[in-house]
Amino acid sequence: MAVYKRGYQRYQGPLTSPASRLLVLPRFAWERLMQQRLISILFIVALFWPTGCALFIYLSHHLDLLQGMGGAATAKIFDINAEFFFIFMNAQATFAIILAAFAGPSLIAPDLSNGALPLYFSRPMSRSTYVLSRMLVLVGVLSPVTWIPGGLLFLMQSGMAGWDWFSANWHIGAAIVAGFFFWILLVSLVAMASSAYVRWRMIAGALVLGIFFILAGASELANAVLRVEWASAFNPTRATLQLWRALLGLEPFPGPDEYECFAALVLMIGLLAAILNRKLRPVEVVS
């Protein structure tokens, strides 16, 4: 029967499991994000660098294709090691920030600015589930430009270089996945907290970029003015890079070590979680 002809009937059938409901918001959000041309363009642009890296890995195993270039020098340039993957991660981290700045604020800001949170929280959905659902949206958006291409590049290199290379460098693969997951967590929380704080999409997007790029400048300024090095720990990008270098087994940057950087990042994550906890309430209570 046509839907307009049948009257309203109460639904009394089986319900879906609470775990499967966790993907409801991400599913609708991904669909909506992929309809935005800017996001699609950013997404494609963010895959240029991994494609270039894949080509680089391929060439490193087919140096005979580059016969015009000097043998030993070329081999050194095309050495695929932890430094290579660090450079790859560094570039993709920037794309992740830009994508999060454009995609992130549209997740929470509309709910807050339209007062829609009571609609969500009057359903079997807690605040933590809501945050997790929204975070899954960003995990879904950022994964294809971070750990997935990183992991594929690692597998590609492992496949071409053989078992010996893999057994000597498996930690690089683990570092790519763990490092990017930590980065996604940080970037997602920044994007969500920004949109929860300012509620206006454009400003929230600018704030996401500002937090990463202005904090970088501010920490360098603090280092220069106070003649210290510890302020670098409060530059989230720098602190994460230091952590990644430790995970990849590379020489650390000068300044705070990986433990200090990790502690600073955990502090930032705690602060962002506190902002979300403060802002994401179904009703605001004025004491």
């Binding site: 109460r10 879906t16 339209n114 009571p118 609609l119 079997p124 959905m125 309430r281 179904p282 009703v283």
Partner: protein, 329 residues
Amino acid sequence: MTPVIELDNLRVKLGRREILKGISCRLGASGSGKAIGLLGPNGAGKSTLILTLLGFHKASAGSARILGLDCHRQSRDVKSRVGYMPENEALIADMSAVRLLRIMGELSGLPSRVALEKAHEVLFHVGLGEARYRPLGTYSLGMKQMAKLAQAIIHGPELVILDEPTNGLDPAARARMLKLVLEMKNDHGMNVVLCSHLLRDVEEVCDEVVILKDGAIVHHANLEEERRANRRFVELEVSGDDRNFAAALSEHGAEGVNEGAGKWRIVLPPEIEIDTLWRIVGRESLDVQRLTHRRDSLEEIFLKAVGHIHRTAGDSAAPPQEVATNGRL
């Protein structure tokens, strides 16, 4: 039968201020399809009570149960059986009604395909069928109210909590909203909690009413019984010497209060018919200027409960403040 709402010495503090001051009551019966009206002046604690029932506020003492489930400890179960229509603007402006309802349906546990079907079905039911693909931001106030109602009932809840559903509606839209609410309880067996400051809405729809004032329940009544009880309430205006009229009334077991200028308020006992009153008036040689069988409206019950009008003769109930303090209903 399990009561729809059961409050046991419920206290809620917001900041340092106590909003709900130890209220206790049992309202409705699960599956009975009855409507409970929640009334009270501004700041009485109606919204706080609703938000506490939904688990948005935590009780500082006592407990609140919906359909036998603790609102705080079993919040997830409660919410899957309840639909909530908030008072304030809550619709995402750049989203279509179908999309919003699909999301809300799926979040309530409907399978994806069912949620889509139900979204269309409910939107046609509330009269938004033609506008269901339009962004919600382009809706009129009346349409937004209907969309909010639709999202509250998409999953077929056992209890629907409506916070000021007729706010800002024109008379036609208001009538349509009330008709839908009546259908919800009469045809679909849903229990309804209607929070409103519009007494006529509550009177038209509700079977039970709770009146809150200053965070306490000052009156809890079965509206049908209240209506029956007040049919014996008469307002009389006479000219002539009415000095002996009170005594004449009491001879017949009726009670009358002279309000001056020949105006009387009379409560007739059930066995006395109105003809008796005419006979008393004739015997006292009084001329009747006006006689009204005053059907005590909800407005009078409300004003009496919140203490805005004096208590009238024959009203033997305890004063409202005492009721509140004792927590007895």
